[in-house]
Amino acid sequence: MDTVIIDGLSFALPLFIMAIGGIYSEKSGITNLALEGFQGFGAFIGALSAILIANAFGTDIQDLFYVALLFAMVGGMVFAIIHAVLCIKFKANQVISGVVINILALALTTFLTTQINSLVFGTASDKFQLGVMERFTISGLADIPVIGAIFTNVYPFEVIIIVIAIFAWYLLYKTKFGMRLRACGENPHSVDAAGVDVAKIRYTAVLISGLLSGLGGMCFAYSISANFSSSIYMGYGFLAIAALIFGNWKIIPTLAACLLFGFAKSGGAFIAQSMALPSSYTDLFMILPYVVTLLLLIFFSKSNRAPKALGEIYDKGKR
């Protein structure tokens, strides 16, 4: 039972931080299907910098996690600039831009990974090996029945994500910047009339979403996949988008959606394992999170409402 909670959380939280990124962008009025691309490119930059530093200074790659995390956030942000410029300056269709960025990220990172591996390290590998991060347990709290599992075998990044998520919540709902950002997605003209630069706020929002996606991607790379390769593009970005639409573009319900994904995923694996079924049966249980989501959406979608100006190109002259 404990493993369900432990594995579920370690999957749900990186997903959650990516979904928050998506919320920021979409609340400001920019459709963001590019989360997957930001995640992948961020993780690529993070992994590359960790590998290079480890190689140059001979440090253990485990200790470089925080450095990698920082670089991943920067990497995701840099890649997000493309989406921001295309959508805001070049007035491109935001859905198109998102899909293109995903494709470009996948192509570019696999190409660069193999190229760098052969040029710098002289190996014909298509991945950067990172290993799984060390976990820790809070001794007193871990003894509480059931809930104790939350404090057992925790990845350090889970703590970081929670802290950043709380800050992101505060920024979005309690500050002037957050209010303006949300207003940009509902009625950009009134924001403009109030003397605030809509484009600037939208740029910031998209960059934040890139930063958070890069963070999420790096966490996946250091836990589930233990390396950086093209296999990091597992559709987690789309799952995060599903979570935020499910959560009605609000941070707390989105957390619930992500936890649902996480626990249904680890729960499915757990049931298959405890019933000692052949491995092919695991596949059947893997559909759990997706089926549950679809069923729940049937009940909850009626009241779902996207930000009003979402996906619309802001044109000052148009009223």
Binding site: N93, I96, V100, L106, L284, I287, T293, I298, N304
Partner: protein, 383 residues
């Protein structure tokens, strides 16, 4: 006339050429393609290779240009037929995305719809031992029905429960992938290849290793059908009431509703059409290009098609051109990588760049109209 004046004249003429609305649907993608090849050339130069040779190899590999030498039973024609074979499912899938996009819907579920149709066609016809005359049309029919039903489900969920089609198609993709993987691994697995058992030759939509003269080539039967379908879709979209209604719903839901168009029905209908096209992509892929299904893998075509449809301006004829371009780059990349010593992955980078530049099409249009206005103004002030 001074050199400066000449330049301005040239520029004006170029702007006038680009300004023509009729040509913009061609000229803008063309500019995007040229720009991306220039960008790719710079990348290839940076790794110290010759870009011209690389591009030449790319076209040679795809069967557009002749290679210096061929193995027995092979020629440029056989390479070209392989290109068409690979292109067929992509063309169908891109048409699927394009139709949905015209209705304002975003079908990310093409991969799932392909897999479901391919799976049903495989187990019902592929393993049945039916005669080719019956088997081949039946495969197509199953593809249309299975894909159409799945697409229709997405449309119905949207109309009935307001479920965003992006979310439902993503969920259905995963569900299809895992359930079908389960059935393949339980009942239809080939222990050697770790894929589903190969289907019978009679059910296959590509004729493999046919001897024509002294050549052995693969003939994709679906290709002709795909071209006919594209033209048919163009006709339906441009000339019929159904097409008009779908486009009206796509361009403005509320306006369509007020003018008495049944939005719900058209949403479902558009998704049924889109799904059945995806189903055709599925059967031409799993029972044409391949003869088996790999468990737990969704085909890349499902996602590439989104981009290809957008590159083709969601226009059926445009999609024919965009999917051939992307297929040429994909098909040629193996030969390029072996000949020029450039990694195969660069081809996907080129594709990504093409798409990136073409995404700026609206901006280009806007810039051109700005520039041409300026030219007109100057002309007026002179006279």
């Amino acid at each position: 006339m001074s050199k400066d004046n000449k330049n301005i004249n040239l520029r004006n003429r170029l702007i006038r050429l680009m300004r023509k609305e009729k040509w913009q649907s061609i000229s803008i993608p063309l500019v995007a393609i040229i720009m991306s090849f220039i960008a790719a050339a710079i990348v290839i130069l940076l790794i110290g290779k010759n870009p011209l040779q690389a591009f030449c190899n790319l076209f040679q590999g795809a069967g557009i240009l002749p290679k210096p030498s061929y193995a027995g039973y092979k020629s440029m024609l056989t390479d070209f037929m392989s290109l068409l074979n690979a292109m067929t499912p992509l063309l169908f899938a891109s048409l699927a995305v394009a139709v949905a996009f015209r209705a304002g819907l975003f079908n990310i579920g093409v991969a799932g719809q392909m897999l479901v149709s391919g799976f049903f066609a495989t187990i019902i016809v592929g393993y049945s031992g039916l005669d080719a005359i019956i088997a081949k049309p039946l495969v197509l029919l199953i593809g249309i029905i299975a894909g159409g039903l799945m697409g229709g489900l997405v449309g119905w969920l949207k109309y009935k429960f307001n479920i965003n089609e992006v979310v439902s198609t993503i969920m259905l993709n995963y569900i299809a992938q895992y359930i079908i993987s389960f059935f393949i691994q339980m009942y239809y697995i080939n222990p050697v290849s770790r894929q589903s058992q190969y289907i019978s030759e009679a059910a296959r939509l590509t004729l493999v290793n046919v001897e024509v003269g002294d050549l052995k080539m693969d003939i994709p039967l679906g290709f002709v059908l795909a071209i006919i379908t594209a033209i048919l879709i163009k006709y339906v979209m441009d000339k019929t009431v159904v097409g008009f209604d779908i486009k009206a719903v796509g361009s403005n839901r509320n306006a369509a509703k007020y003018s008495g168009i049944n939005v719900g029905r058209n949403t479902v209908l558009a998704m049924v059409i889109s799904g059945s096209l995806a189903g055709l992509a599925g059967v031409t892929y799993y029972l044409g290009y391949y003869a088996s299904i790999q468990p737990k893998v969704l085909s890349d075509i499902g996602f590439d098609s989104i981009a290809v449809a957008l590159l083709g301006n969601s226009h059926p004829i445009g999609v024919i051109f965009s999917s051939s371009l992307i297929s040429i780059i994909d098909q040629g990349s193996t030969y390029m990588s072996s000949q020029a010593g450039i990694r195969q992955e660069i081809s996907s980078v080129i594709v990504g760049l093409i798409l990136l530049f073409s995404a700026c099409g609206v901006y280009m249009k806007y810039k051109i109209s700005c520039m041409s206005e300026k030219v007109e103004e100057r002309k007026e002030s002179k006279s």
